[in-house]
């Protein structure tokens, strides 16, 4: 008897479970709230000054355009924390023993979390884009460019959610699961998310230049606003795939460890 035949059905069931829980405890508010507050803060408080640094006399309008990709990545970077908490909750409670002793597609517990978090994050990103447009974000993208940007953001989200799953499986407690992915939130700041990297001191600039989020933000900016992309697109895709694959194997190794916590 093979449970692989039930891969789709069991994953869908677990996704449904995730969404039922999410409806009762809407963590999505956290995914939307933080980036929106940051967006308003940066556009209305710092935007006037920072925008002049982006383009001479650009002001707030120029900064709303510049910062939006960074804000989207901030939303994505905060997602693994929720993912990790949810996974760690499952792993530290009795229910995982129940799932593991049922003849179901074994990874479906994890695929449910991945799909659920992805759906939630994509919805959050759409809302954040809407708010950004309301405060002055003026993309000039063609439909194809929109689709490409959405595709890339989804790919990066997928990678980050897998990172969250791996963290959730690695942590021994729910508390440590919520701390483990936290540093990720710094990446949009230590990159081209809020100010161009060439304005940073050498060491920071180097980190900013070669970390995964910078090429993603540059590509999204290029697609939506028509700035130069260069080789960022390939780098962004390569990073996303590498992180996804790495975290998938990391998560799988943790999940299949011999033992129940």
């Amino acid at each position: 008897m093979s449970t692989t035949a039930y891969a789709l059905r069991d994953s869908t069931t677990m996704l449904r479970r995730y969404l039922l829980r999410a409806r009762r405890y809407p963590m999505i508010m956290f995914l939307i709230g933080i980036p929106v507050v940051m967006l308003l803060l940066f556009v209305y408080v710092f935007g006037g000054t920072l925008g002049d640094g982006i383009a001479a006399g650009g002001g707030r309008a120029a900064y709303a355009n510049y910062v939006t990709p960074g804000i989207l990545l901030l939303a994505i970077a905060s997602a693994p924390q929720l993912t990790a908490i949810g996974v760690a909750q499952d792993m530290t409670e009795g229910i995982i023993a129940r799932f593991r002793t049922m003849a179901i597609f074994r990874p479906s517990v994890l695929t449910g979390h991945v799909l659920g978090n992805l759906v939630q994050l994509v919805v959050a990103l759409a809302v954040v884009v809407g708010v950004a447009v309301a405060v002055g974000f003026r993309p000039n993208a063609t439909p194809v460019e929109w689709v490409a940007a959405a595709g890339l953001l989804t790919l990066v989200s997928f990678a980050c959610v897998w990172f969250g799953v791996a963290c959730g499986l690695t942590a021994r407690t729910v508390e440590s699961a919520s701390n483990l992915p936290m540093p990720l939130i710094l990446l949009p700041f230590l990159g081209s998310g809020f100010v161009p990297t060439d304005s940073m001191p050498d060491a920071v600039g180097w980190v900013a230049e070669y970390q995964p989020f910078t090429p993603v933000m540059e590509t999204v900016r290029g697609l939506l606003l028509g700035t130069g992309i260069g080789n960022s697109a390939w780098l962004a895709v390569a990073w996303s795939v590498a992180i996804t694959v790495g975290c998938f194997y990391w998560a799988r190794a943790r999940y299949n460890r011999d033992g129940v916590r």
């Binding site: 059905r9 039922l20 229910i95 049922m102 003849a103």
Partner: protein
């Protein structure tokens, strides 16, 4: 496939964590359609044994057949045949009772109609119909435990593992749980139950095995095991050595402790034997300072079989969940 005569067959099961041996080679045989109880104090290895048989843990050594299948080579076949209600609550607290059961129906790949029928049936059977639409967080300990067992039964398992199903429940909830368990066996299910309570094993099990420090130290029917237990006793304490001395003269068979000024007189703990003891003391005009009646319990079993008391069994018994 035909139903095997033994739902559970375990030979030479061993498991160690590092250099700590948890199961030191145990053998178990549970005939199909019976209740088997594994009795043992905290840390005896009960959960470890259940986890291995239910495919959660790999053993270090041993041959295992659950409903005829080998967990090592065909874990999914074992999983399809079993249901586990673990020691720790395995309900999704964020979902309602009905949603928890629906989740199980989906994961058991029941079709919609069949799923709904079973859910309604189980809710009624476990007296959860009224609470069905409430989140499990709002359930009492007893309700949660009933939901836990109901979830285990959605898939119609042929072998059910219950790891301390009544620890932490009040006497009434415990009795309800016992009735449910008896009902299950009546429908042909095999039950493997762990417990710290001698009474529970006595009430439910066809056969009982005593697990202590990873070894089965006794196995048999509850009646056979009870024959191994010494009878109860009445413990008398006296104000001084003189009283103790005269009391010891009154009773032929007794155990005396000169330091504690106590005398243990064999007794079944009943009123008649108590009255007889008091009458005889009255007759000899001996005053007692204190009297305690002691009925046999798990402690006595372990004391008899291992030669040392295992206070953990009774002291920590109720504070487990």
């Amino acid at each position: 496939m035909p139903t095997p005569a033994n739902a559970i067959e375990v030979t030479g099961l061993r498991k160690a964590y590092g250099d700590k041996t948890v199961l030191a080679g145990i053998d178990l045989r549970v005939p199909t359609g019976t209740i088997f109880s594994l009795l043992g104090p905290n840390g005896a290895g009960k959960t470890t044994a259940v986890n291995i048989m239910s495919t959660l843990l790999r053993p270090d050594a041993g041959e295992i057949r659950i409903a005829g299948h080998d967990p090592a080579s065909d874990p999914d076949a074992v999983r399809a045949a079993i249901g586990l209600t673990g020691q720790f609550s395995a309900v999704d607290n964020y979902l309602t009772g009905a949603e928890n059961l629906a989740l199980m129906a989906d994961l058991n790949h029941l079709d919609r109609r069949e799923g709904r029928r079973r859910i309604a049936d189980l809710l009624a059977r476990f007296e959860l119909t009224e609470a069905a639409a409430k989140p499990a967080t709002t359930y009492s300990g007893g309700m949660k435990r009933r939901l836990d067992l109901a979830m285990t039964l959605v898939g119609n398992p042929r072998v059910v593992f219950l790891d301390e199903p009544t620890t932490g429940l009040d006497p009434r909830s415990r009795r309800t749980m016992w009735d449910s368990i008896r009902g299950l066996v009546a429908s042909g299910v095999t039950i493997f139950l762990t417990t710290q309570y001698l009474e529970e094993a006595d009430q439910l099990a066809d056969r009982v095995a005593l697990l202590d420090h990873g070894r089965i130290i006794a196995e048999g029917t509850p009646a056979e095991l009870k024959r191994l237990i010494p009878g109860g006793h009445i413990r008398l304490r006296f104000a001084g050595p003189a009283e103790l001395e005269s009391a010891a003269g009154v009773f032929g068979t007794s155990t005396r402790d000169d330091d504690a000024l106590t005398l243990q007189v064999p007794s079944d703990g009943g009123v008649r034997s108590l009255r007889e003891v008091l009458d005889r003391l009255d007759g000899a005009a001996v005053e007692i300072a204190e009297l305690t009646v002691h009925t046999p319990d798990l402690d006595d079993v372990f004391l008899t079989l291992t030669g040392r008391p295992d206070t953990a069994a009774t002291l920590e018994g109720a504070s487990n969940r």
